[in-house]
């Protein structure tokens, strides 16, 4: 499925989706991740044909379904969609819901397909139940079975777990992730939840204000965000200012945490000196990349005071007060514990991280 240069909106003159391009390979799952109001659901509805596009085109396979003068009605797009609320027809049984999209199939095949779809979502034997007798998680699974039964070319999921409570959400999410991988259907899933995007998506597209900021694998997105906003939206982040110190084969930034190794910016040749005015940078340090130790401090001699310690079992999250007045978050193994008010030594640990020229990564661009 290909989305090419699509813009759309509801009010004349205001685009909620601006020139977005995105390709989903056959069998791949792409998650559209963004804060509410970023246009991700609108884009999904445009793919389904529930909203028109103003510019650009959408193709399913090789068929253009929206844009460039083409328009295929939603019912002819072979697109399946699971809504936030499941949207099960309350007056029909589970089996009749699943059979709803199988009108063109011979009757004998319909029954077999319904059984198959129910087995796929682990609800065999629930066919005669009415939707309101099911739990929220079961309803979403029926909705998934219903949209998969006609073998759609593309499956769309619109915040499919947001109506479920927290414990159920984790369980249904893993279950749906398993099913999507098992049947390898081309899928676009919209979510505002980073964990959901990472669990389900082979790749994740981060959207903001109608634009796609970055498309990458979950790991790439977490480790190499293209700007401080993405860094802050995807996971917890410390943004430190630093000064580039160009070594012969490595790039180091001097920060309040001590020296931090920086990945070579892809657009600059190895060992090249920073451009004028670009030696001041914003450095991304994830909390788990801060090591906290007891005094005395190591060679670099950086220390901080523990302002707060939250014990989470698998790790402890510290809020550290640095000597230059800034605040730094760290996630460390629970042992040894550092009590509140104690002075600790701090250092960077882990592979090289990313940095952006300070001028570009200004503070107002941070995700808060």
């Amino acid at each position: 499925m290909t989305i090419h240069d699509v813009s759309m909106g509801y009010v004349p003159g205001i685009d909620v989706v601006r020139r977005v391009s995105l390709a989903v390979a056959p069998g791949e799952t792409v998650a559209l991740l963004g804060p509410s109001g970023c246009g991700k659901t609108s884009l999904l509805r445009a793919v389904a044909g529930l909203e028109p596009v103003r510019q650009g085109s959408i193709a399913v396979g090789t068929t253009v379904v929206s844009g460039s003068g083409a328009w295929v009605k939603p019912e002819h797009r072979r697109v399946g969609m699971v809504f936030q609320d499941g949207a099960l027809f309350p007056h029909l049984s589970v089996a009749a819901n699943i059979a709803f999209g199988l009108r063109s199939h011979p009757r004998r095949e319909v029954a077999a397909r319904v059984e198959e779809a129910l087995a796929l979502v682990d609800l065999a034997g629930y066919g005669s139940r009415l939707p309101h007798t099911l739990s929220g998680g079961q309803r979403q699974r029926v909705a998934l079975a219903r949209s998969l039964a006609p073998s759609p070319a593309v499956l769309l999921l619109d915040e499919p777990f947001s109506a479920l409570d927290a414990a159920l959400r984790v369980q249904v999410r893993s279950e749906v992730g398993r099913i999507l991988r098992e049947i390898a259907v081309t899928t676009l899933v919209v979510t505002h939840d980073q964990t959901e995007a990472f669990v389900l998506g082979d790749r994740v597209a981060v959207m903001r204000d109608g634009r796609v900021e970055q498309i990458d694998t979950p790991d790439g997105l977490y480790r190499r965000p293209v700007n401080p906003w993405v860094a802050g939206f995807v996971g917890e982040s410390n943004l430190l200012t630093g000064r580039i110190d160009q070594g012969p084969c490595t790039t180091i930034a001097a920060t309040a945490l001590g020296p931090v190794p920086i990945e070579r910016p892809p657009h600059r040749p190895a060992g090249g000196a920073p451009l004028p005015g670009e030696d001041a940078v914003t450095v991304l340090v994830r909390p788990e990349q801060v090591s906290v130790g007891s005094l005395p401090a190591g060679a670099d001699g950086m220390t901080a005071v523990v302002e707060a310690a939250e014990y989470h079992g698998h790790d402890t999250r510290y809020r550290l007060h640095l000597d230059d007045g800034s605040t730094l978050f760290a996630r460390c193994p629970p042992e040894p514990a550092h009590p509140r008010g104690s002075r600790v030594s701090i250092a960077y640990r882990g592979p090289a991280t990313v940095a952006w020229p300070l001028a570009k990564g200004s503070a107002d661009d941070k995700y808060t």
Binding site: G49, E75, M81, F89, P90, R103, S147
Partner: protein
């Protein structure tokens, strides 16, 4: 002693009192019995006309109401929000006032008469019979379908439509297979209410001279007891059946479970915009514009010619308010035990009691009035009540108590157990607890229930005609008598006052909520 015995006994007692008038009529009809053959021949015609009218009006109101509901909720009809409000308004006109407005409008000198002459058409000489009754009752009852069905339609989640489309169904197939099942029960339930309304109607059919069962009861109540009670028994039995059906359907229409609503794209009417707008305009003219203008013209003529004195309206208006407010307050209090028992301790017996209250509403007001008149005239101790305002208030309470029951139940629900328990821990005095916690929380609901009863009493005619003491006239009886005697100018002013009061109450109690939903 079993728990809550007092409350449960009281609840059952109230239920029996509400069911009593209808049962009394049935028993009386059976005992008067006599010659069934002639009676059956006598009632066959009116029964057939009642059924004819009720079926015709129900079908018309259901089609018009559902079509308009769809137009104002799911299409891009220009000004649909305004239409939605305007098209509800005919429900503020009692149908006998509507009938009177058309009769007066078609009479020589009336607005319609002059308008038809102005365009060179001959005005019809009379406005009578089935056609007239059908037009009037349809024009003023379709809002009872429009209101619930449009509320229901706007609650069909957009995601259901979208899902159906994505599963390969066309717009039409989606309408038939998704939308219709959603509104079917609501349409059916509201159509039964229209049937009941038409079935119990007296004022309009009397004015247009269409001989239905109610008219037989009214005309023969003093001269031919067996006929009157036989007709009343027929009315009661069928009405009770209709209400049972309505309650069953309403259960199915039940509240839908919370869903996130995506603002849907309305259906584009395209070239159908013009006929759709014309249909809305036609319905609004027949149900609102023409009657109100016709009444206004007569009233204005009467006032400018000095023939009527607005001061004469003060006494009927005061009487209307007095009996209405008394009935409203009493109804809210009387059904409270039923509400409390059925919310806090639901049992088969409480269900039966609320069915009794519903029975009082189902039975035409005329039948209740007949029953109460018979009871007071034939029971020595109750004799003094005949021809008293108190008896009229009692009839109102028995007939409209159901309208206070729903709000009362809401009120009881607004004081949930945890709140009552914490109140019990903090305030030891039971009465002060009621005053400080229960009443403040319940007041809005109780007031709404009382308001609904008041609205109904203001528009009520048959029971008032039968039971009002001599010399005691309400707005409704003043209007009815003036029209029967052809005093259009006098009646016009009183009608406008009644419509204004009814409009204010309807807006506050019914439309404001209905339109918000």
């Amino acid at each position: 002693m079993p728990a809550h015995l007092g409350l449960r006994l009281l609840c059952s007692l109230v239920g029996m009192v509400f069911a009593a008038p209808a049962l009394l009529v049935l028993v009386r009809a059976a005992s008067l019995g006599g010659d069934l053959g002639p009676l059956a021949r006598q009632l066959a015609g009116p029964l057939w006309r009642s059924i004819q009218l009720a079926v015709l009006v129900s079908v018309t109101a259901a089609s018009v109401g559902t079509l308009l509901a769809w137009l104002v909720t799911r299409t891009d009809l220009p000004g649909r929000r305004l239409w939605r409000a305007v098209l509800m308004l005919p429900m503020v006109l009692p149908s006998f006032v509507g009938a009177a407005a058309f009769i007066a409008g078609l009479a020589p000198g009336g607005m319609l008469h002059e308008a038809l002459q102005a365009v060179g058409m001959t005005p019809p000489r009379r406005f009578r019979g089935l056609g007239a009754a059908w037009l009037i009752l349809s024009a003023f009852t379709y809002p009872y379908v429009l209101l619930p069905v449009s509320a229901r339609l706007s609650r069909v989640p957009q995601s259901l439509h979208d899902s159906a489309r994505l599963l390969g169904h066309s717009a039409w197939s989606t309408f038939v297979r998704v939308t219709v099942p959603h509104i079917r029960a609501s349409v059916a339930a509201s159509t039964l209410l229209v049937f009941l309304y038409t079935w119990s109607e007296l004022g309009a059919v009397q004015l247009v001279g269409f001989d239905t069962l109610t008219r037989v009861v009214y005309a023969s109540r003093l001269v031919d007891r067996p006929t009157s009670f036989g007709a009343a028994a027929l009315l009661a039995v069928l009405a009770a059946g209709v209400v049972l059906g309505e309650r069953r359907l309403r259960g199915q229409a039940g509240p839908d479970r919370g869903v996130a609503l995506v603002p849907g794209r309305p259906v584009s009417l395209g070239r159908a915009v013009a006929p759709a707008t014309a249909a809305c305009a036609l319905v609004a003219s027949v149900g609102l514009l023409v009657p109100v203008a016709s009444l206004g013209l007569w009233a204005q003529r009467g006032i400018t010619s000095g023939r009527i004195d607005l001061g004469q309206l003060i006494a009927p208006a005061r009487s209307t308010a007095m009996v209405g407010v008394a009935a409203a307050a009493l109804a809210v209090i009387v059904v409270l035990p039923v509400a409390m028992a059925s919310v806090r301790h639901p049992r088969p017996a409480t269900g039966l009691a609320s069915l009794g209250v519903a029975g009082g509403f189902a039975v035409p007001g005329l039948v209740i009035a007949l029953s109460l008149a018979y009871l007071t005239l034939n029971t020595p101790l109750l004799g003094p009540f005949y021809q008293s305002a108190g008896l009229l208030v009692a009839a109102y309470v028995l007939h409209f108590g159901l309208q206070a029951l729903g709000p009362d139940e809401q009120g009881v629900r607004s004081v949930p157990d945890p709140v009552r328990e914490s109140a019990a821990l903090l305030e030891p005095s039971r009465w002060r607890r009621v005053a400080r916690v229960d009443l403040p929380l319940m007041t809005p609901n109780l007031a709404a229930g009382g308001g609904l009863v008041l609205l109904s009493t203001v528009k009520e005619l048959p029971a008032t005609l039968l039971l009002a003491p001599i010399g005691f006239s309400t707005l409704a009886t003043t209007i009815f008598n003036a029209y029967e005697d052809g005093f259009y100018a006098e009646a016009g002013a009183a009608s406008l006052l009644l419509v204004a009061v009814s409009a204010a109450l309807t807006w506050l109690l019914v439309l404001r909520r209905g339109l918000a939903g």
